[in-house]
Every structure is written in structure tokens, then in C-alpha cells.
Amino acid sequence: MSRKKQGESGSSPRTPAEWVALALALLLLACVVGVILWLWAKEPAGPPRFEVERAAVRVEAGLFLLPVAVRNVGGEAAGQVRVEGWLAAGAREERPATTIEFLPVGAREEAVLIFRADPSGASVEVVSYQRP
């Protein structure tokens, strides 16, 4: 109500330590807000889109293990992302599949598809997803 008296606790001038603490806090907040603004400006718009990378095939106990990584390069998160491999080896057809629970924007998840024959010629793609 009345004017505050100088020198009262709380209104005394800041010490260097307080200035440093305040500067660090403001710097941190500026970084967080800056990153959010950058995301806002730079992020792709539109539905989820997927990039599938394949790594080298490993052979274990007569089975072919194909590690794959899926990245969401779209503008929305996706759930239940189903990744399916497809390989026609002679008369036989193989369709190993896995489901990634949740893939936020920009996230990358790794999975392994297991084939009975060499999957060098196999195709791997995302066949379905849910909007969270």
C-alpha cells in the first residue's frame, strides 16, 4: 500500500550472484522458447510420412535378420506404425512385419525383420498407421 522502504528484504539491490542466477534462468528460457519458435517455423506440415532405412543383414541360426529404421519426416505423430517386409523367394512368399507403438515427429525407431531366405531383394515399407 504505502511506498516500500529501501533496504527491506526483497527490495535490496541484487548481488552479483543473483544477477548470474537470473541471467542463466533467462538464457535457458530464451533457448526453450527459441527452439519452440524454430520448430513452429521449420517443421514440415501435413500428415505423417515415413523414411525407411535398411542396415546390413545378419545371419543367425539359419535365419536372416534385417535391421530397419523408420523415421517420421511428416508433420504429425503416428501410432501403431506397421512395417512390413516382402520377399518372393521362388514359389514361397515371406511377409515378416512389426509394429512401432508410437513415432512422434522427427523420431526414429529401429526394428528387425526376420526372413528365412536372403532378404537382399526384399522390399520394406510402412503399410499402415494410426493417428494418435
Binding site: 527491506e8 526483497g10 548481488t15 550472484a17 526453450v32 519452440i36 515427429v105
Partner: protein
């Protein structure tokens, strides 16, 4: 000699930071173990993140203003505004540390999800800082008359060590149980435990010890000096922290068994990871329980 040490503005500022961090973890811990909170961070868009930060800031300004009024301090508005900004920054940092501790801040999640999770989790942690300022304002050095009689009366009742140890052990067990009881039957415990390796579990153990030490001994929630003055046995801060952590782990293990998340036949690795994961909130609860006795 104590006076001279306390006067250093850097020490005062560090104490202030410890107080704020303690408040953040004390109030934020249940939200850290609620996956829906950071789950929302995965899908929240940038505009909503900014709105969340702005709303939290406004709430913190109100709380800091009220805290100053409650403590009978007259603070200029400029100071309230910067206090609130510091509370928000501390809360965000503490929330990020918490998420990293439980293994949900990995780089694989992508920048968007990382920032979203930190913002969503930072809200309860920041409000924790504000609430700590409001409900558990910092006690001045010396702490005369502020701590509830029993604590300051400790010195006069020197023969009472056993009683005091029992009180604190009981407070720890009770606090740990209250927090662990609400978290033990949730899916978060196996979910978090599944993602953590051995090294990560050790870090979690260290963090549980540091955070509970912060809350009881470095936060100035109650007159810290009075606590430290006891010395000896269970009273030595480091010993008390370690023993209280043991009690918290035992309570956590009991809860996990009670809710059938763990059977006696489960592997040692499973037991260890579940108990350590639940041990973090349990030790924070135990620390809160010790503050109360």
C-alpha cells in the same frame, strides 16, 4: 564462523537453487511417473507449447506474489516477475533432468518430442517450485522459532536420540509408502524399468540419494541448521540419507510385491530394476515424511 560462511551471496544463491530444486522434485515426482504427462508432449504442437509456458508463467507470478505476501515481504513487481521466470527455468531444468533419469529424453525421440516432453513435464515441476516458495518458504539461517518446537528442542533433549531416530525412520517409511503406494501398481514402473540399463540404474540410485539429501538438508524447508546441529549416528546427514534410502527401497519392494508386480521367483535383475525405479519417488516421499516429523 558459521555466520561468515552463510553471508556469502553465492552460498545464499546456491541454497536458493537447492530450495527450488527440492520443491520441484517434491511436487513434480508423481507427474514424472505418470506417462500421460510426457506422452502428451509427443503430440503437442509448438503454439500449444508456448501457451503452456505462458500460462505457467502467469500462475507462477501469482504464486510468487502470494508467497511474498504470506511471508510479509514487500517485493517490487520487477522482483516478482524475475522470481517467476527463475522458477519456470528451474522447473523446466528439473523436469528435463527427471525425464533423462527415467530414460525418456533420448535423442531418438526427435527434437519436437524432446522439447514437448520437457515443456509438459516442466509445468508441474515449475509449479512445485512456486508451491515450495508459497507453502514451505525458505527459513532464515538460524531458524529460530520457525521449525516446529520439537526440532529446535532437539539439543535440550540430548538423551532422546533413539526416539528421534525412530521418529525419522517412521517418517521415512510413512512418506515412502504414501508415494510408492500410488505408483507401485501402475504400468509406468515396468515400462521405465524395461528401458534402463545397469549404468542407468546406478545413476538413478545416485540421483535418489542426492535429491532426498537436497530436500531434507539443503532446501531450508525447515531450519536446516537445526537439523545439522544434531550430529552423530542416524543424525549425520549423509548417514541419515543413506539409511532413509534403504528404508525407502524396502518399502518400494514391499509395495511391488503387494501389488503382484514382482513375485519372489522373479529374476534378481527384475527385482533390482523395479525396486530402484520405484525407489526414486519412494525416497522423495521418505524425505517429505522426514520433514514432517
Amino acid at each position: 564462523m558459521r555466520k561468515a560462511e552463510r553471508r556469502s551471496p553465492w552460498i545464499i544463491e546456491l541454497r536458493h537453487l537447492a530450495h527450488d530444486l527440492a520443491g520441484a522434485f517434491l511436487f513434480g515426482m508423481p507427474f514424472l511417473y505418470t506417462m500421460e504427462v510426457w506422452w502428451r508432449g509427443n503430440t503437442v504442437g509448438p503454439p500449444r507449447m508456448l501457451a503452456a509456458l505462458a500460462l505457467t508463467y502467469v500462475a507462477l507470478v501469482v504464486v510468487e506474489r502470494a508467497a511474498a505476501g504470506r511471508a510479509g515481504r514487500s517485493a517490487p513487481w520487477s522482483r516478482t516477475l524475475t522470481e517467476a521466470a527463475q522458477a519456470l527455468a528451474t522447473g523446466l531444468a528439473a523436469g528435463a533432468v527427471g525425464l533423462a533419469l527415467i530414460g525418456f529424453l533420448g535423442p531418438n525421440a526427435g527434437l519436437h518430442a524432446v522439447v514437448g516432453r520437457v515443456v509438459m513435464e516442466g509445468l508441474p515441476f515449475s509449479l512445485g517450485v512456486g508451491l515450495a516458495d508459497f507453502l514451505l518458504g525458505e527459513k532464515d539461517e538460524g531458524g529460530h522459532g520457525k521449525g516446529e518446537g520439537g526440532r529446535d528442542g532437539g539439543r535440550q533433549a540430548a538423551g532422546d536420540t533413539r526416539h528421534r531416530v525412530l521418529m525419522r525412520a517412521g517418517g521415512t517409511a510413512l512418506g515412502a509408502t504414501v508415494i510408492a503406494l500410488t505408483l507401485a501398481p501402475t504400468e509406468e514402473i515396468p515400462l521405465i524399468a524395461a528401458g534402463l540399463g545397469h549404468r542407468h540404474l546406478l545413476i538413478l540410485v545416485a540421483a535418489s540419494l542426492v535429491i532426498s539429501y537436497l530436500i531434507v538438508f539443503a532446501s531450508n524447508f525447515v531450519s536446516t541448521e537445526a537439523r545439522e546441529a544434531h550430529g552423530g549416528g542416524f543424525d549425520a546427514p549423509l548417514v541419515e540419507t543413506a539409511l532413509a534410502y534403504m528404508i525407502s527401497l524396502v518399502m518400494a519392494a514391499g509395495m511391488l510385491w503387494l501389488y503382484q508386480l514382482l513375485e519372489p521367483g522373479a529374476s534378481f535383475g527384475e527385482w533390482a530394476s523395479y525396486v530402484v525405479v520405484l525407489g526414486l519417488p519412494a525416497s522423495v516421499g521418505g524425505a517429505a515424511g522426514r520433514l514432517a516429523v
